[in-house]
Symmetry: none
Subunit: 298 residues, 2 copies
Amino acid sequence: MDRDMLGDLSTLLAVTEEGNFTRAGHRLGISQSAVSHTIRRLEDKIGVRLLNRSARKVTATDAGEQLLAALRPSFQQLGNRIEEIRTLGERPSGLVRVTSSAPATRDILWPVVSQLVRDYPDVRIEISSEGRLSDLAEDRFDCAIRLGEHLSPDMIAVPVGPQLEMAAVASPEYLARRGTPDHPDALEEHDCILMRHRSDGPVYDWEFEIDGEDVVKKLSGPFILNDPGHVLTAARAGHGFGYLPLPEVRADLDSGRLRRVLAEFCPRFDGYHLCYMGRRNLSSALRLLIERLKASQS
Amino acid sequence: MDRDMLGDLSTLLAVTEEGNFTRAGHRLGISQSAVSHTIRRLEDKIGVRLLNRSARKVTATDAGEQLLAALRPSFQQLGNRIEEIRTLGERPSGLVRVTSSAPATRDILWPVVSQLVRDYPDVRIEISSEGRLSDLAEDRFDCAIRLGEHLSPDMIAVPVGPQLEMAAVASPEYLARRGTPDHPDALEEHDCILMRHRSDGPVYDWEFEIDGEDVVKKLSGPFILNDPGHVLTAARAGHGFGYLPLPEVRADLDSGRLRRVLAEFCPRFDGYHLCYMGRRNLSSALRLLIERLKASQS
DNA sequence: CCCAACCATGAATTCAGTTCATGACCGCAA
DNA sequence: TTGCGGTCATGAACTGAATTCATGGTTGGG
């Protein structure tokens, strides 16, 4: 019994259920002619006439009836079984460990996972603000919400949030002590808390938009950190300016712990990305989360 | 369950049977890459991962195993059924020689062969009421319709008719001359035309049901015959009682040539059997007849 | 550490399935 | 008896899904 025959058998079944080629074709989404060719081809392969055709009537021959007698229960069982595993397959379960900053958790992650765990009671989500991208490779976390695209060749990053705006911030104490810059060029006279992710990687650029032009400032300062939380800590402590996405500094701005400068020079850019290791066997729960986050972006 | 999926399912089965995509591809006559695409497409359609792949090993997931558990018997049944009808459908042709009594021909054989020769124009059926079981072994006939099960070790008998009732009959002339028995015991005072099939075999029993008990009467008479037709001939001639299945004597009863006695004592028993030599290479036409007679019994 | 065997996948190819066009057949009504 | 409408059959033309090609990634064994 060859593979191509199997689809043809379901055409045979449709013909006998509908009673003519034309209606069977409608049901299957093909033309009457295609049905005719298909049945003819099947009969040639098996070497037996399966249908008697007269004008206005199609009936199964005895051989056809015998074949259909085996076909009906078999296809019914297979259809049922496929539906069962499809339904069961839609029951993701297990733990998904996500590392995400508090703002990303609040703005991007929480709206999605809140509904997800209602829809799929067997899924549990662990969210930690302390993880690092390197934790993904070491399987301490399953995914991370981060700004910008992926950095490692084996890591996948998909956008899951709207475009963002950067903010340059410093403590009131620092500003009182060192003055408030009114242009990005002035930052060259200030201390800036820089970031990079890998100790051997590039330092993150501070980009500004001056007279419609994108300008990258090469700055310096007392710290090069790899964690936005630490950048905030250092900025609050008066060690200089931090340059972070607006959501990440909003709480400090609201509380007055930090003040924003050069807002009119700050461009918008791609927002949060979901990062995960691009390996094969992602759990169904993780796949589900990835799909949901992608979908929330549209 | 759509048509295109069915062929893909047989690819899935081949992969799990062969243990890898490459060998499955060889079996199916397609490349390893085509197998990979096919499995991927099937998994996308169903929405469930069916196989775990690692280097050098492919195994079914739980969902895949469940699907395969339904797939295997279904495809086996379909494959067998297709092979059956293909075999039968190899345009059976030629002559099938059947020996059958007139009642068996009328009641059992005719309804089946009438349609069979329409379906298969190359098949011809010869029916003779003169044959004997011994003619099967000597290849003068291909099969026989007979009451009761087979007698020779190399002969096969399959039931092809409903249960029957025996009838004890005699001619009106005999009854007028010798009297009408009103109990099976009275037969001991009468002439009875006996039957057996092999000259060295046992004489056929005359069984009656008396007060709910089965009773075998040991009787005697002027003839021991091996053919029901001859028994009827003898009974019509007034030689005594015949003991035959009701269908075989119906015509004589209807015409008044014979009269039935002791009807309330006659039990029912297994009916007509199709007898044929149990050798291997039965012609396709004979196999077809056998299948049809078996099927007509259900 | 290297190699062989296997799977994955995007792009390109190909040919089997399908449509198109149209003829043949048949049942039914006028 | 004839005409019409509905259905099946089939060869030729078309097309898109299945398959191949090319190649990269992974992994187990030597």
